[in-house]
């Protein structure tokens, strides 16, 4: 009996460590050329966006710099999102709220060039740090909802996120590798888009890919899914902004 229990415990431990070891950032499954592109700041395709972010950071009487100082002072900030502050909020949402409430400027459209540039600039400061999404009762509820959505079959193709990114990660869809769907490098410069894009853009692309109703920008569904995904990738180190095919 004892031996069986021990064996069972051993199996559980092995299973747990195996799962932990199997997590791979999309960065590590890309081609060597793309990995080199992301690793070299002199060739990084987001460098113009980062330069725009630096410009915007110091623009205006109530600039970002007037409160936060240099962008370097925000090291680590990007790893603590999505957070709960009078509602679920992700990093672009926080920048947007700062812009409207403290700078008195009109809100940006989703995926506006300036919003992505500032998000990338802030995320860049946390390079090398592990993702540490915060805990809290509301966030736990959102993460559970996000997990349910992750496992829910959607759309005309009747596919869930999990069926590709958990069960078939590492296989191919058409010619492309299916990544495990980790969120460690957002915002990403996707070569297919030829621009920076947020996690929500990526998720909305997947939704339309399985021919499901595409959730609105910053909808409760997208934010819940983001919350779950951040926890799913917790502890993985960020190298934002990422480069993806």
């Amino acid at each position: 009996m004892k031996a069986v229990l021990l064996l069972g415990a051993l199996l559980v431990v092995t299973a747990l460590t195996a799962t932990a070891d199997e997590r791979r950032s999309g960065r590590d499954t890309m081609s060597p050329a793309l990995r080199a592109l992301q690793a070299d700041d002199g060739q990084h395709p987001a460098q113009l966006a980062l330069a725009l972010g630096q410009d915007l950071w110091r623009t205006g009487a109530k600039s970002c710099a007037s409160c936060h100082g240099d962008p370097e002072r925000l090291r680590g900030v990007a790893t603590h999102y999505p957070a709960w502050d009078r509602g679920l909020i992700n990093l672009p949402g926080r920048i947007q709220r700062c812009r409207v409430q403290h700078q008195g400027q009109p809100a940006w459209a989703p995926e506006a060039e300036g919003l992505l540039a500032l998000t990338a600039l802030v995320a860049q400061q946390s390079r090398g740090l592990p993702l540490q999404p915060p805990a809290g009762p509301e966030l736990d509820v959102a993460a559970r909802r996000g997990q349910r959505l992750f496992n829910t079959r959607l759309g005309a193709l009747n596919l869930s996120c999990a069926q590709c990114h958990d069960e078939r990660a590492g296989l191919r869809l058409g010619g492309s590798l299916i990544p495990q769907g980790h969120v460690d490098d957002y915002p990403i410069f996707r070569l297919e888009w030829q621009s920076l894009g947020s996690l929500q853009r990526r998720l909305r692309g997947c939704l339309s890919g399985v021919r499901a109703t595409v959730w609105d920008w910053n909808s409760a569904e997208l934010l819940a899914l983001e919350t779950y995904l951040a926890r799913r990738s917790a502890g993985m180190s960020t190298q934002a902004p990422g480069v993806r095919p």
Partner: protein, 108 residues
Amino acid sequence: MRSTRAVIVLPAAIQAGEPFEVRATVAHAMETGYRNDDAGTRLPRDLVRRFECRLDGELMFAADLFPAVSANPYVAFWMRLSQPGELSFVWRGDAGFEHRELRRITLS
């Protein structure tokens, strides 16, 4: 709209007589003039036509750019300097587009 942006990447230290790589990219749509917008109207051609890099006025490198060149054109080239100076980078194009960058080069 805000001013144009360009990113120029030079090695941290440059030795006299040693070749080094210069990388330059400028934010520009490079609209070919062959595309239509969603309403079907032709998008007017808007290209960067020429890129020049000069050391104290002397031409070091130049490139003519054409519609097949991607947006945000990226140019990388090598040069070798025997004395310090000021590198000027100029992009010129349609509709009076012009963007200049200066980089002072000190040799170590």
